[in-house]
Symmetry: C2
DNA sequence: CGGCTAGATGCGAACCATTTGCATTTAAAA
DNA sequence: TTTTAAATGCAAATGGTTCGCATCTAGCCG
């Protein structure tokens, strides 16, 4: 795979996934790539050119279904998104005081035995930790 | 502690926690006690006499803060509640096809080292598994 | 036991994130 | 370039949850 500039790389990935490589969606991925933490849709809206909220919602949902971004519910109010391309599965710990988020590699996925629970398979899970970071302590 | 009928026992617990033992709140706890799975506020509303939705929300929030009930966000749409009295900390696995829920004892709480993440302490976490139960498979 | 007061309730309106309908634009294929 | 399905923008609707405020009521005191 050749080395391309991010926008072209994302365009290629979008087409690979059967999505149209629109400027808006490429811009979304580029913007998400710059974020260190999962970002709310509202914030994201201020970082990209002019995407209407409804378009943002639709685009993010489509990208999430294709595995290009991940949706995270840290607080039950609004969803946050992070880029998934090139990033391994992980969870987060959130400072409830300042909002700082860190990735954590701990994952309970393999600790559960579907059969023993009357389940034929486990398809997914959500895990978020909450705490107080050292700066806020 | 003497053996009382549930409503009287809950009344006593409410007073212990500094909450007024109103019929509505006692009824809420009794209704929650009967549920095998976390129940949505809407469903709960149909099971108790006449509590207005806003009262339901306020009551559940108050009871949750006192540790008498637990709020669970299985789907990102609506919150669910389960009784916490006499029930140890646990998580759930949800069948995404029929909604069946089972308790799971797996808990990642002790697997995380706050200090190594730049956190002074971990105050909580959320964990839910999703899958397909044997009946739906 | 009757009155007093903070907390609880009901009702309606307000909020806010998210969704949807529809007409218009645009990327991708022919 | 023409064609077409998908994507976008705008406005309106949805739906869970919250708030303001007037009215009740449990718990307390005399």
């Amino acid at each position: 795979m050749k080395r391309l500039k991010p926008s072209d790389r994302y365009a290629a990935i979008l087409r690979e996934k059967g999505e149209k490589a629109t400027k808006a969606r490429i811009g979304l991925l580029v913007a998400l790539e710059r974020e260190r933490f999962p970002i709310s849709i509202k914030e994201l809206g201020t970082k990209v050119k002019a995407p209407d909220p409804s378009t943002l919602y639709r685009s993010l949902k489509a990208l999430a279904e294709k595995g290009l971004v991940r949706e995270i519910m840290t607080d039950k109010k609004e969803a946050r998104y992070e880029i998934a391309i090139g990033r391994a599965h992980h969870h987060h710990v959130v400072c409830t005081s300042c909002g700082l988020m860190k990735d954590v590699r701990v994952c309970p996925e393999k600790a559960i035995a579907p059969a023993s629970l009357g389940f034929s398979k486990i398809t997914g899970h959500t895990l978020e930790f909450f705490g107080i970071c050292k700066s806020c302590a």
